[in-house]
């Protein structure tokens, strides 16, 4: 199932995020890595070192773009300048699909640079789906949306988060980047069963999976991407793989980044679940 129209019919394995502290190691040692995920916004410049490094990476590796500021859920229209730059990068990388978050983050042209949670309403689903369709039509590449970690819920919500995700991707006819760490974080913050979430999404639309670590505080959990993946998140991953099939998987590690080998080894643990060697 994993190769589908939402990920360009690709069979990518286990990748890691391309991060500055690892540049030298990757370019000099050329380690074997299935693929790298890049944060699109870090490479949407006109020139200089970011694009130079990216071009070197592209000579050796497969790259998938992941964005953080498209804000499909913001009421305001998509930013045309952003889209134009993104399209130029899509052409450069040849990314088989492109992901961004199911969230909002800008109002009247002012940006929060945060992934703000959606109210789960039919109105929000319809508006968000419209923008996803517009982006996909402009970018001419499959667009998939990622569930975010959240710390607040809205009074006006009319459905669960996974029902909202299902509603949006159905209306937009797009794929899902299923972040099982985000599901875990939100389940702890909002008291729901994360397995119900994993069971409840349209599995045939899942194009990619994210795994990551997080930080626990007294009254809530924050999605900090600065720790190894914990066992309950691996369990969710195993369940997702069981339902979806082996799917392109990426480990996010964005803060207190350890050595390349440590990050890659952590990511490769995913293969144990894909191979069925570890059960739920």
């Amino acid at each position: 199932m994993p190769a589908n129209r939402f990920n360009g019919f690709t069979e990518y394995g286990v990748g890691i995020g391309l991060r500055i502290p690892h540049y030298n190691h990757i370019l000099s040692k050329k380690p074997t890595v299935d693929w790298f995920e890049i944060i699109s916004e870090n490479f949407m410049s006109d020139g200089g070192r970011p694009l130079h490094v990216l071009d070197q990476i592209l000579e050796q590796y497969r790259v998938v773009q992941h964005g953080v500021s498209m804000y499909f859920g913001s009421v305001e229209p998509l930013n045309r300048e952003h889209l134009k730059r993104l399209k130029a990068l899509v052409r450069r990388t040849g990314t088989p699909w492109l992901s961004d978050h199911l969230c909002w983050g800008s109002v009247d042209g002012t940006y929060s640079h945060d992934l703000l949670p959606m109210p789960y309403t039919f109105e929000a689903a319809a508006k968000t789906a419209d923008k996803i369709r517009q982006a996909r039509d402009f970018l001419e590449v499959p667009v998939v949306v990622e569930n975010v970690s959240s710390y607040a819920e809205f009074h006006v919500s009319e459905m669960t988060e996974w029902q909202f995700l299902t509603e949006v991707v159905g209306r937009a006819d797009c794929g899902i980047l299923l972040d099982v760490n985000n599901i875990y974080v939100s389940s702890r913050n909002h008291n729901f069963d994360p397995l119900e979430y994993v069971n409840g999404v349209p599995h045939e639309r899942v194009a990619q999976i994210h795994i990551a670590g997080h930080s626990k505080f007294e009254k809530y959990i924050l999605d900090t991407h600065d720790h190894p993946v914990i066992d309950p998140v691996w369990s969710l991953y195993a369940r997702a793989i069981e339902l979806i099939g082996p799917t392109a998987t990426l480990l996010e590690w964005d803060d207190r980044i350890p050595s390349f080998d440590e990050v890659h080894d952590e990511a490769l643990k995913a293969n144990r679940y894909v191979a069925g060697k570890v059960s739920v």
């Binding site: 949407m44 006109d46 200089g48 500021s69 978050h101 109002v107 929060s112």
Partner: protein, 295 residues
Amino acid sequence: MDLDHIQHKMFEAIRQPLTADEGMRQRTLDGKSLRAIANEIIKPNDRLTSFERLEIYNRQYWFRILSALSEDFPGLRAVVGDRRFERLAAAYLLDCPSQSFTLRNLGSRLEGWLRAHPEHLVKVEQVALDMVRLEWAEIEAFDETAKPQLSEDDLPALGPDPKFELQPHIRLLGLSYPVDDLLLQVRREEAETDIVSNAVTERTRQTSRRRRLPRAERIFLAVHRFDNSVYFKRIDKEAFTILCALRDGKSLSEAVDAADWSGRPIEDASADVQQWFAYWSAQGWFCHTNQVRNK
């Protein structure tokens, strides 16, 4: 309550400045109750009130943009000191929130804002402004486009009094303080980090070592990129004048005439100009002009 209304309400709330102990204020700057706004839109749970849940986003908003600005302007932080930097950064970002999809542009209005708010730079105004100009020039030079370089073979196409076009990544600065040395010293001591990720930003209080500020000294700099690294090249005043004139579209003879050569023998001036142009060409500072492209 529709989506537009919720987003305006929540965004207004999370953009409110934090309290001294980095919590959410009780009231917005124009007097509205943030507790009432939180209760109106956000559900409480068994551990957190609506106010506390909204506060998480309020804190994250500020932590992320303050951290990004601090990473971009470590030189300014070194000049004004940590506490003053935190205050001016918060005030600037309140007045000039991000209007770009990329955090790279967060400091684009900082110099203009500081000129309008000199109260944040008492006793260090000029050195701080010089540093901000240099740091913003460095950001622009880092990732601005580079056009194909002009080669010797292209010169005939430019005619007898050529107009040289500078690479878009070159920034020319006339400064009152030698802040380039100070910034290089600061940069050497800091680690490189990614620009953005989608992870939550944890608050890390940055501290910079107290430094001796440079004495006033007029310097001229070309901030440029070579082999994907940004360099600060000190240049003579006359060279600076010539480059500024070329940047502004003047011809070679007009640019040379724009410089003040008084007190310098013509032979020396001529030799200097030749030497400068040889260096600038070797560094790839000139790029293809329309004249060359059309030929």
